[in-house]
Symmetry: C2
Subunit: 132 residues, 2 copies
DNA sequence: TACATAGTGTTATATTATAACAATTAAAAA
DNA sequence: TTTTTAATTGTTATAATATAACACTATGTA
């Protein structure tokens, strides 16, 4: 569950847009979409994005430079994220698998080192694209 | 094991540089370092990088926009990669764990979908930085 | 109130990456 | 070997992504 954060004006505008979007949004596409709401400069977007990522309301899809709202109650504030990405239609889905997150949270490398955070991106074809 | 690829002149210059580097290199840092060898434009660098990634000689660290040589004989040509990243010194190490790669290669999401490719990035502190 | 902290607005600039086109080289097919 | 096809190169220009710096404003808290 997400802790309630009181989003500021810009944060709320940008979160709402991302939250409503069925696919991840890129920063400059966000910018174009919120200009009518008074957000005029890239920095205003990036600052809101940074904060939203930090508090776990959205995640960055690193391989796509795009942002998606978190819909996974088990992902601990941006510390443990996993996504599936369709290489044809670019549909991105957050994976919420207890098995996977337990496995990765407990993973130790050969030096016995544990990690505080991870990001995993799976690539393949989504159902719809598999059938074509 | 890597299939032997006959690298072209530019590919070789750029691979050699990355391969010798203890840490991942960024595209423009590569560019500055190979200008004395006649590679003058970003595109020449990016083209070589694209090819080297494609054939699995190097990997891109997505969260850092940087490139590292593959030192993991079990990673199947860029289809299955895992890294640990130190959040202080930015040291990056390719993880080669049979357990991990088997687990991820066989991972199915709740729709039963399997993936053809993945990239995993772990974050934490390396040994050296933990002791500080 | 006074102070600290976080957020905003703005301009400029840095960093990362690709488009388009002509020329060259290497590979493979005839 | 010649032909022809694909891959690579060189080059200029430009697109896309992201941050620096600074002045100002709102918010919380002592
Ligand atoms: Zn999430
Ligand atoms: Zn798809
Ligand atoms: Zn590798
Ligand atoms: Zn370190």
């Amino acid at each position: 569950m997400h802790k309630e954060h009181n989003l500021t004006k810009n944060q709320k505008i940008i979160f709402d847009l991302i939250d409503k979007s069925p696919q991840p949004l890129k920063a400059y596409s966000i910018l174009y979409n919120v200009q009518k709401k008074g957000i005029k400069a890239p920095l205003q977007v990036y600052r809101a994005l940074d904060k939203l990522v930090e508090i776990g309301k959205i995640h960055k899809i690193e391989s796509r430079n795009a942002f998606i709202a978190c819909h996974n109650s088990s992902c601990q504030v941006a510390k443990a994220t996993a996504f599936s990405i369709c290489e044809i239609c670019e549909k991105v889905t957050e994976i919420s698998s207890t098995g996977l997150s337990k496995y990765l949270a407990n993973f130790k490398d050969k030096d016995g080192m544990k990690y505080s955070k991870y990001n995993l991106e799976f690539f393949g074809l989504c159902k719809k694209c598999t059938l074509k």
